[in-house]
Structure formats: structure tokens, C-alpha cells
């Protein structure tokens, strides 16, 4: 993995809101094509860190490079190369599936024919042919999230950021969702995902665990389980969180 191309570089990243430090001295690298998990309890600072990486929020200090572009000066270059799916479901509820695809395809500068072609593939792949003219608000949550992910990678970004993408959906849909993630990773897309489902954590290539704004552990799931003498990620997580 160390030989692979580094796509995210974070050094000494701090984010403060007044006297509150949301991110404290974050240091990590993410490599091309890997699924990088960002774990932590609610309020641990996962979303804050991810928003900084996406260019939605400015860091207080530290060095951040995404696809070799600098987060302070080249945000627009970064934004061309990333996809993002937020915790709050972010497609337009009053537009249909097709209209959402067309809108986001258009914003990312895809040509009309390309939008048409990729849109068709996407709808076919998700088996949504019968629902493509339905409004987003009328389709089930599981579909929405699979759709949001597919739209986030429609412009074929290098990295896609997923902020608790599977919150509130049933285990079967979650499995299908992870199938989509693996497919994207197989095509060379780097996946950066935050979650607090421990079973999902085990799907990741590498994991970082955040407690109170700091990264307290970073390794692949099996090594972490071994290192903390646990039988699964759940135990690792509990041990790390309770120690603090």
C-alpha cells in the first residue's frame, strides 16, 4: 500500500470554533483506490474534518493536499476532482431522478450526450427504470442513498467523500450500498467514508478512529483487532473510547 500513489495528505490539521477545538493535530495519508474509513462517536469531529477535505470549511491551521492540490489556494481544482455525499440527504426532493442526474451532470460540465449516456447506465445499474420520473421525495430512503452515491461519482472523480452514507437504512440496503462502493473502488476511485457502524468499518481497507477531535488509532481492521486484543471492531472501538 505504501508504494501506491498518495491522494490525500493531511499534516497537523487543526480546526477551532472559538475556544472549542473540533480537530486536533490530524496527520494521515490516503492512497489511490483505497477505502479509508473514518470512525468516531457522534461529535468526535469526523464531519468537520471531512468538510475541510471537501473544501466546504477552511482549516484553522495545517497542511492539506487533495490530489496534489492545496486546500487553501486550489479549492476549485479540488472540487472538480471530488464527489461528496452528505449526512443530510442532498438531492433535490422536488426534482425527479432523471432531473437530478441531469442537473448535477450539467454542473460538473458533462456534455448533454454524456449526461444522457451515463444517466441511462446509472438508472439501469440501480434498476430504477420504472421510477426514473418519480420525484425524489416519493422514493424510499435506501434508493435515495444509492442514487445519491451514484450521482456523486457520475463525473468520475478521483475521490468520493461519504459522510455517514448509510444512516437509517436497513441491513440489506446497506449491503447493496457497500457493493456500489466496492464497484467504484474497483474502478480506481478512492473512497473516504465516515461511519459509526462497526460492521461497516470492517469493510474498509484502513481505518482511523477519532475520539474528541484526535485520531487515536489508524491501521487496517485486522491489525487493530489484534493490537487491542479484541474479537471485533466493536470491542476495539469501545476500548478506545472508554480509555479517554
Amino acid at each position: 500500500m505504501k508504494d501506491a500513489e498518495r491522494i490525500i495528505k493531511v499534516r497537523k490539521l487543526y480546526k477551532k470554533f472559538g475556544s472549542f477545538t473540533a480537530n486536533k493535530d490530524l496527520n494521515f495519508d490516503v492512497y489511490k483506490g483505497e477505502i479509508f474509513g473514518f470512525l468516531g462517536a457522534n461529535g468526535a469531529g469526523k464531519t468537520t474534518a471531512m468538510k475541510i477535505l471537501c473544501g466546504l470549511s477552511k482549516p484553522t491551521s495545517g497542511e492539506v493536499k487533495i490530489a496534489n492540490y492545496d486546500i487553501y489556494t486550489q479549492t476549485n481544482e479540488i472540487k472538480k476532482n471530488i464527489g461528496y455525499m452528505s449526512q443530510k440527504f442532498s438531492l433535490y426532493e422536488d426534482l425527479t431522478i432523471k432531473e437530478n442526474i441531469r442537473l448535477f451532470g450539467g454542473i460538473y460540465g458533462l456534455s448533454k450526450s454524456e449526461i444522457e449516456k451515463r444517466g441511462k447506465e446509472l438508472i439501469k445499474h440501480l434498476e430504477l427504470e420504472g421510477a426514473k420520473d418519480k420525484l425524489i421525495k416519493d422514493i424510499p430512503l435506501g434508493w435515495k442513498q444509492k442514487l445519491a452515491f451514484s450521482i456523486a461519482v457520475l463525473h468520475e472523480p478521483d475521490i468520493v467523500f461519504l459522510d455517514e452514507p448509510t444512516g437509517g437504512v436497513d441491513p440489506i440496503t446497506r449491503r447493496q450500498f457497500w457493493k456500489l462502493i466496492y464497484e467504484a473502488a474497483g474502478k480506481g476511485v478512492t473512497i473516504f467514508v465516515t461511519t459509526h457502524y462497526m460492521d461497516e468499518a470492517e469493510y474498509c481497507n484502513r481505518l482511523s478512529i477519532m475520539v474528541d477531535g484526535e485520531i487515536v488509532a489508524l491501521d487496517d481492521p485486522l491489525s487493530l483487532i489484534k493490537q487491542y486484543k479484541s474479537s471485533n471492531m466493536d470491542e476495539v472501538f469501545l476500548k478506545l473510547v472508554r480509555k479517554i
Partner: protein, 371 residues
């Protein structure tokens, strides 16, 4: 450019799909226009006049009959003492008391001059002033009659200064054709200032703005995408309002209608720009409503729609340089009622254009993709 087209397409799809907003945007302003033009009217009819005639002579009866003949006054009742008359004024039974003292006729014949007293309820100063001018004109008529009939018939041939007023640009003093452009300006301003801004803040509230902010979209593209759809709607409404004005109120259109629309186009850029700028300051729709409302009230009340802006103190007139409504109300009235052209309104044209550029730049500059 292509990106902006996708954004506009998206806004129109959303607007047309919103079954609550659609009638609010298109039907309500029309209803308001028709109702408000009839309502916002300073013409006074049926002013309640109480008469206290202590003279009871032929001359005083003649004066009373002059008031009776006027369409503006309804002589409510006669009273017999000043106390009773004042009571009527206090109890709102009379708006005006006409007090003819005893000896009225005698003094006219003897001294060629006399006095009467008029008491006007002036809780509303404006209507009191209008009342007073109506009374003066009736009294003037009576004076002429006295001069001719009683005092000196010779004077009728040689009565000195004879004032004949003609009202230019609105000869019948039709209040409606003056108010309609003003009300129309308020309505399109409402549409412009609220819709664009509210739409933007709504995206902040439901979170879709994040999905837009992680895209490489440029700030100005996003602002134009929010501006143009509502600009088109408001401009359409301006045209539609003028059509209603023509059909229902037969407002004169002396100038070039295209000028009205051209000025309207620039004006609406300003108004939408203000709404969008304010929306970049607000975090919720509620906050924005209050902000917009604050400015709306100032703009409307100071803009010269209901009261002439030229009568305001100098500092207020200076404030009006920042008031887009002041420019547009003046412009639309001058073009429609007076037939003014571009050369008469060049200052307004330049001012509104500069305003539009500044406020829209400010709005896109202050819209933060990153916080």
C-alpha cells in the same frame, strides 16, 4: 453559460412544481393590484359636515346650500350651540363644523366683510388638509357669488385676479392612474426581494446548498442561476400589471412602454440583488424575512409612492439615493403619465445601472462556498 442554463431549468422545474407558491406568485399580485388601487385613494367623498347657523339669514342659507350642492360634503345635521357642535366633532359624528355667527348677513351688507369659523378634525393631517382645500374652494365660489350678487355687480366685470387652474398630466385628478404604477412597483418589488433570497436560504436550510458548494461551480454562476428565474417572473408580472392597468383602470401610456420594461429590467436586478445579498447574511428563512421586511418598509414609505418624496427633509432625500424604489416610482410615473423619454431620466438610468452592478457583485462576493 451552459451551467447557468442547467440551474435556471432546475429553478423553473421547482417553481412550477410548487403548488402552493405558484398561485401566490402569479394570482395574488393581480388581486392585490386591483383591490389596492381602489383602496389606496386619498380622494374624499361624503365629508360629514355639521352646520351651526346662528344667523339663519338668506345669506347664510345660501352658503349652506353651496356645501349641500358639493359632492364632497354631506351635511349631516344642524346644531344649535357651539358645545353641541364640538361634541359632534368629538364623537366622530362630524368631520367638519361650519360655524356661521349671528350678524353674518348684517356685516356683509354693512362692512362688506365678515368672518365664519371652520373646525376640522385633524387626527389625520393629510385628510384635514384636503378637507380644507375643498372647503376653501366652496367658499371661493360663495365669495364670487357675493361679489356679483350682493356687493357690487360692477365687480363681476372687473374682479381682478381670476385664477383658473388646469391640472397637467392628470387633468381629472384621477387618483387611480397615479396610484396604479406605485402599487405595481410595490408588488414586483415584493416578488423580487423575497423570492430569490428566500429560495437561496431555503437551500441552506434543507442542506442542498452543500451539494452545490462541493461542485466546481463559480459563485457568480450560482447567483445568476438564482437571479434570472425570479427576474423573468417579476418582469412578466410588471408587464402583466401594466396590461391590467390599461384594461381595468385605463391608465394612460404616454411614453414608450419599452422604456418602462427596460427600466423595470434594471430595477428588478437591483431588487433581486438586494434580496440575494441579504440572504447571504441570513442563516434561516425567518431571519431573512425580517431583514427584507425592514428594508422594504423603509424603501416603500420613503420612496414617494404615497407621499411626495420632494417634501421630505433633506437628509431623507439623501437617503433616497440608496432607495431603488424612489428611482423606479419616479421613472414609471414619468414615462406613463408624462411621456418622458430616456433623456429626461438619464440620471435614474445611470443610478439604477450602477446600483445593479454593485449590489450583484456584493451578493456574489458575500456568498460563501466555504465557511
Amino acid at each position: 453559460m451552459k451551467i447557468i442554463r442547467y440551474l435556471i431549468q432546475k429553478e423553473f422545474l421547482q417553481i412550477l412544481r410548487n403548488k402552493t407558491m405558484l398561485p401566490l406568485i402569479f394570482v395574488l399580485p393581480v388581486v392585490q393590484l386591483v383591490v389596492l388601487v381602489f383602496a389606496a385613494n386619498l380622494e374624499m367623498k361624503n365629508i360629514k359636515l355639521a352646520i351651526l347657523d346662528e344667523d339663519a339669514s338668506i345669506s347664510s342659507l345660501k352658503l349652506v346650500s353651496k356645501f349641500n350642492a358639493s359632492p364632497f360634503f354631506s351635511v349631516s345635521q344642524s346644531t344649535y350651540s357651539i358645545e353641541l357642535a364640538e361634541d359632534q366633532l368629538k364623537n366622530n359624528e362630524a368631520d367638519v363644523v361650519l360655524h356661521i355667527p349671528s350678524g353674518f348677513e348684517k356685516e356683509i351688507r354693512r362692512d362688506k366683510q365678515t368672518k365664519i369659523q371652520i373646525l376640522i378634525n385633524a387626527i389625520n393631517g393629510t385628510t384635514a388638509g384636503i378637507c380644507n382645500s375643498y372647503i376653501t374652494s366652496v367658499l371661493k365660489e360663495y365669495n364670487d357669488y357675493l361679489n356679483i350678487q350682493l356687493v357690487n355687480p360692477e365687480l363681476s366685470r372687473n374682479k381682478g385676479l381670476d385664477i383658473v387652474s388646469r391640472f397637467w398630466f392628470n387633468p381629472d385628478l384621477n387618483y387611480k392612474i397615479y396610484m396604479l404604477p406605485g402599487i405595481l412597483v410595490i408588488l414586483v418589488t415584493l416578488i423580487g426581494m423575497f423570492l430569490g433570497g428566500l429560495n437561496l436560504v431555503r437551500e441552506v436550510e434543507i442542506g442542498t446548498i452543500e451539494q452545490i458548494n462541493v461542485t466546481p461551480i463559480k459563485k457568480y454562476q450560482f447567483i445568476i442561476g438564482k437571479l434570472l428565474p425570479f427576474w423573468m417572473i417579476a418582469l412578466f408580472e410588471l408587464g402583466f400589471g401594466l396590461l391590467i392597468g390599461k384594461i381595468i383602470f385605463s391608465i394612460p401610456i404616454l411614453g414608450n412602454l419599452l422604456y418602462v420594461l427596460a427600466y423595470g429590467a434594471i430595477y428588478l436586478m437591483v431588487v433581486l440583488g438586494i434580496g440575494l445579498f441579504l440572504s447571504t447574511l441570513a442563516k434561516t428563512q425567518q431571519q431573512l424575512m425580517f431583514l427584507v421586511y425592514f428594508f422594504m418598509l423603509i424603501f416603500i414609505l420613503m420612496g414617494g409612492i404615497f407621499t411626495p418624496a420632494e417634501n421630505m427633509p433633506q437628509w431623507a432625500q439623501n437617503v433616497n439615493y440608496l432607495n431603488p424604489i424612489a428611482y423606479f416610482v419616479k421613472t414609471i410615473r414619468m414615462i406613463l403619465l408624462k411621456g418622458s423619454g430616456l433623456q429626461d431620466l438619464i440620471f435614474e438610468f445611470v443610478a439604477l445601472s450602477v446600483y445593479a452592478v454593485l449590489i450583484l457583485s456584493l451578493a456574489s462576493w458575500n456568498y460563501k462556498k466555504t465557511n
